[in-house]
C-alpha cells in the first residue's frame, strides 16, 4: 500500500516538472532583460510590472548584480538594458544612457547625537581619522564610529569625489554594503556617522528610525532639495543600451522616462526628472 502511495507521489512530481518545463508554444512572448544596480532594481521591477500590464505579451525581467555589471552586460549584449546608479565615465561613453531619476546622498547621524551640522572640512577630517572624538565638533565625549561604503559602489565614488578624497585616505570603523545596512548601523550606534541615499534616509527617519539627516553646505538634505537641484550631492539613475534602442527596449525606455511612472519613482523615494 505504502509503495503505491510513494509511486503516485513520484509520478505527480515528475508530471508537474514536465508541465512546468514545457513552454506554451502559441503565445509569443517578448522578453526584455535588465541587469545592474541594486539601487535601481526595485524601481525598474515596478516600472516593468506596469509596462507589462499595458503591453500584453511583454515580459520585463530585472536582475541585480551592481552598476558595473549593468554596464558590462549592456556592452556585451548579455542584457538588453543595463542599470547604473551613476553618470557614465569617459571610457564608458560608447553606451547610450537615459536618466530616469535622481537620487541624493546625505550624511546621517544617530538621532541621539547633539551635533546638528558639519561642514565639509570637518567631514573630511572625521573620515580621514584626524578628528576622532565628537567633542572636537561640539558633541559628546565619545569616539566617532566612521561608516564607509564598500569599494566599487557608486555611492562611495560620489562621496569621495565630492570631498576630494581617495579611498586609501579614509579610515573607517565599519564598512557597509547597501543603504539599509548603513541606516541600521547608524541607528544602532549613537556615535556613528555615515552616508546613504537621501530618499531612503528621509523615509526611514519619518518611520521612526533613530537617524537624522545632516545638511550639506548649509542646504537641508531632503528629497525636495534634490528635486529643486539645490542639494549639492546627487546622482543620476541611468538606463543604458549598447546601441540606439529599438523595439521593445525603446518602448520601455520611453515609458520609464515618461510622466506615467513618476508616482512609481516617488514611491521609491527618488526624484523624477522631467523630459
Amino acid at each position: 500500500m505504502k509503495k503505491w502511495g510513494l509511486v503516485a507521489v513520484l509520478i505527480l512530481m515528475i508530471g508537474a516538472a514536465v508541465f512546468l518545463l514545457s513552454k506554451p508554444a502559441d503565445t509569443k512572448i517578448d522578453k526584455l532583460v535588465l541587469t545592474g544596480s541594486s539601487t535601481i532594481a526595485p524601481l525598474a521591477a515596478e516600472i516593468g510590472k506596469r509596462f507589462e500590464s499595458l503591453h500584453g505579451n511583454a515580459r520585463v525581467d530585472v536582475q541585480t548584480g551592481g552598476s558595473s555589471r549593468g554596464i558590462s552586460d549592456a556592452r556585451a549584449g548579455l542584457a538588453d538594458i543595463g542599470m547604473a546608479s551613476r553618470a557614465l565615465k569617459d571610457d564608458e561613453k560608447d553606451l547610450h544612457s537615459f536618466t530616469i531619476a535622481l537620487d541624493g546622498i546625505s550624511m546621517i547621524l544617530n538621532s541621539a547625537n547633539p551635533v546638528a551640522a558639519l561642514d565639509k572640512q570637518q567631514i573630511i577630517a572625521i573620515y580621514t581619522g584626524k578628528i576622532t572624538r565628537w567633542t572636537e565638533v561640539g558633541g559628546n565625549d565619545a569616539p566617532i564610529t566612521v561608516v564607509n561604503k564598500a569599494e566599487g559602489r557608486s555611492t562611495l565614488e560620489l562621496f569621495l569625489h565630492y570631498f576630494g578624497l581617495k579611498n586609501t585616505d579614509v579610515k573607517p570603523h565599519v564598512i557597509i554594503g547597501d543603504n539599509q545596512q548603513g541606516i541600521k548601523t547608524v541607528a544602532g550606534n549613537p556615535d556613528a556617522i555615515g552616508y546613504v541615499s537621501v530618499g531612503a534616509a528621509e523615509y526611514e527617519a519619518s518611520q521612526g528610525a533613530a537617524i537624522k539627516l545632516l545638511p550639506l553646505d548649509g542646504i537641508a538634505a531632503s528629497v525636495a532639495t534634490v528635486r529643486d537641484r539645490s542639494f549639492p550631492l546627487s546622482r543620476p539613475l541611468n538606463l543604458l543600451t549598447r546601441n540606439e534602442p529599438t523595439g521593445l527596449a525603446k518602448d520601455f525606455i520611453e515609458f520609464a522616462t515618461s510622466p506615467q511612472v513618476h508616482d512609481l519613482i516617488e514611491a521609491q523615494y527618488f526624484v523624477p526628472v522631467p523630459h
Binding site: 555589471r69 569616539p143 564598500a150 569599494e151 559602489r153 586609501t168
Partner: protein
C-alpha cells in the same frame, strides 16, 4: 561474500553516482582556478601575504587580515557551538521527558531553517547595539562569532542527536544494569560511542561557519584590518567576496577568486585535521 548479479549492477550504478558527487568539488576548484589564473600568472603568491593592505583597485592584495578574521570567527563559533550543541543533544536524548524533548528538537529544527539573512538582520539591529554599548563600534568579531554560533548550533545539535540516538539500546541497558549514574553513562559509554558522529557533526558545522557569507557581512564590520581584540571590526574572506564581487573587474575580480581558493585551502586543512582526530572506532 560474493555478490549476486543484481548486486554487482547496483554496486556499479552506485559507484557512478558517488563519482558524480565527488566530481562536483573538482568542478568548483577548477572554476576557481580558471577565474584566478590571470592574476596568479602575473603576481607571485607571496604578495597575497605581504602586500601593504587590501586595496585591489590600487594593486594591493593583502589577504592575511581577512584570513585571520575567518579563522578567529570560525574557531570562536565552533568553540561555543560544540559544547552547546552536544549539550542540547544530550538534553533531548537523556535528560528531558519525551514531550519536552520533542518540542526542543522541533525548536532546533526550526532554527536550522532560518535564513542567514534573518540572523544577520537580527544581529545588526539587536545584538550589535548591545555589544556597541560595551565597546564601540558594536559590529565586530565578537558579534560575528555569536551570530555564527547561533547559525551552526542546530547543525551540531541535530547531527549529535542522530549520533546519540544510534547508541545501541544494549549499551543503555547494560549501563543501567551495572548501576552507572546518568552522567557516568554519558561520559563513559554514550559520548565515546557517538564520537565519530559527533566529530562529523562538528566538522560539518565548522565548514558551515567558514563558508557563511551574508550574516557575517552584516554584523562583523567589514573593515579589512588585522583584528587585535574581540571588539574590532573584521572582514572575513567570504564577506569580502560578497561585498566586492559585483563591482570588481579584471585583476580585482581575479583577486577575489584567489581568496576563494584560500578558503578552499582552509577547508582542506580542516578536513585533514578531522581525519587525523576522528578515526573511526569499530563497534563491539
Amino acid at each position: 561474500m560474493s555478490l549476486s548479479r543484481t548486486d554487482r549492477q547496483l554496486a556499479a550504478l552506485l559507484r557512478v553516482c558517488a563519482l558524480l558527487a565527488a566530481a562536483i568539488v573538482l568542478l568548483i576548484l577548477g572554476f576557481l582556478l580558471k577565474e584566478s589564473w590571470t592574476l596568479l600568472r602575473q603576481v607571485t603568491w607571496t604578495r597575497f601575504f605581504t602586500d601593504a593592505s587590501w586595496h585591489p583597485v590600487a594593486g594591493f592584495y593583502l589577504l592575511t587580515p581577512m584570513l585571520s578574521a575567518t579563522l578567529y570567527a570560525t574557531l570562536g563559533a565552533v568553540l561555543l557551538a560544540a559544547p552547546l550543541g552536544v549539550a542540547s543533544a544530550l538534553f533531548s536524548q537523556y535528560y528531558a521527558p519525551p514531550l519536552l524533548a520533542a518540542v526542543y528538537r522541533r525548536l532546533i529544527e526550526l532554527l536550522a531553517g532560518i535564513p542567514s539573512v534573518v540572523y544577520g538582520f537580527w544581529g545588526l539591529t539587536n545584538l550589535a547595539p548591545l555589544i556597541g554599548r560595551l565597546h564601540p563600534p558594536g559590529v565586530s568579531l565578537l558579534t560575528g562569532i555569536l551570530i555564527l554560533t547561533l547559525m551552526i548550533l542546530p547543525t551540531v545539535a541535530l547531527t549529535a542527536d542522530a549520533a546519540l540516538a544510534a547508541v545501541p539500546v544494549a549499551s543503555i541497558r547494560g549501563s543501567a544494569a551495572l548501576g552507572l549514574s546518568r552522567w557516568e553513562f554519558i561520559s563513559g559509554v554514550a559520548l565515546p560511542t557517538a564520537r565519530p558522529g559527533l566529530a562529523s557533526g562538528i566538522l560539518l558545522a565548522a565548514g558551515r561557519a567558514i563558508g557563511e557569507t551574508m550574516a557575517v557581512l552584516m554584523v562583523a564590520g567589514n573593515v579589512a584590518g588585522q583584528p587585535h581584540s574581540l571588539f574590532d571590526p573584521v572582514r572575513t574572506l567570504t564577506a569580502n567576496i560578497a561585498l566586492e564581487m559585483a563591482y570588481a573587474t579584471g585583476g580585482h575580480r581575479a583577486a577575489l577568486f584567489v581568496s576563494g581558493l584560500v578558503l578552499m585551502g582552509m577547508v582542506l586543512v580542516l578536513v585533514g585535521l578531522a581525519e587525523w582526530f576522528g578515526k573511526e572506532r569499530p563497534h563491539v
